[in-house]
Amino acid sequence: MDDRSRMRLAVAHEVLQALRRGDFRSELGETIRSGEHVIVPALPDDPMGGFFDKLRAADGTIYIAMREENGLTVLSMSPARPPRHAVPPPDECPIHRDTQLQMIIGYLRATRGPLTCYEASPGVMVELVDDRPPVFA
């Protein structure tokens, strides 16, 4: 077993211990459709892409738990409701798949509020293969 798996299991141990406390459980109130509370023990440099994948698979709120100096930090991630208008709200923030979890937690701490974000697709270049001049009738 590699070091990262060992560290992840150590976070899982802290999560399972914390779940004995009512105050911790009450912070993790949301469930997925099957009624389960989903928690993902994470490492600070885990890429956000994996969490987007888990969120899609769960189709409901997931909680990401990361160990910091003062104990566990828990981040909730929920599918955002589609905007009521065609124009997205100004606080929508692109997050690339390789963005590290600790960067998002640092940002949330600095802004002290929830963040509506979306998974940014990698840049794509489009080009006509056969670049003939246009034909006019």
Binding site: R4, S5, A10, A12, H13, L16, T31, I39, V40, P41
Partner: protein, 129 residues
């Protein structure tokens, strides 16, 4: 046997109507997952029963590898093989449940057993013994 000894040995389990369920799924990237259920006393919120099962994904399905629960007024461990059968002598009683505190102690033992022995449990599941 004296009455006191009998009382000390009396097993305990909660009234099913007095327990609220708190199901949980702990996703372990690259390892598997722990599927759990806490039965919490409706009045006090204390842990009255539980089940924790370590699972791995194989051929697109989740398979039980090791399970610790409080059935039959005992905290016990079950170990499973890849073909789904319970491994012979794989059932180990960790402690008898005589009160709610024993359930809490059993939970602490259970989660450590699943986490610390994860690799060994998965190897045993693959070998089938």
């Amino acid at each position: 046997m004296s009455l006191a000894e009998q009382d000390n040995d009396a097993r305990w389990s909660p009234d099913p109507d007095s327990v609220d369920d708190w199901p949980v799924l702990v996703l372990l990237d690259g390892l598997g997952r722990i599927k759990g259920r806490q039965g919490l006393d409706k009045e006090t919120g204390r842990l009255a029963e539980f089940a924790l099962v370590a699972q791995v994904e194989y051929q697109g399905l989740w398979h039980d590898v090791a399970l610790v629960d409080t059935c039959h007024e005992e905290v016990h461990l079950h170990l499973y093989a890849k073909d789904g059968r319970e491994i012979k002598d794989g059932r180990t009683v960790l402690l008898p449940v005589r009160n709610m505190s024993d359930v809490g102690r059993g939970y602490d033992t259970a989660e450590k057993l699943l986490i610390v022995e994860w690799e060994a449990h998965v190897r045993r599941w693959e070998r089938g013994r």
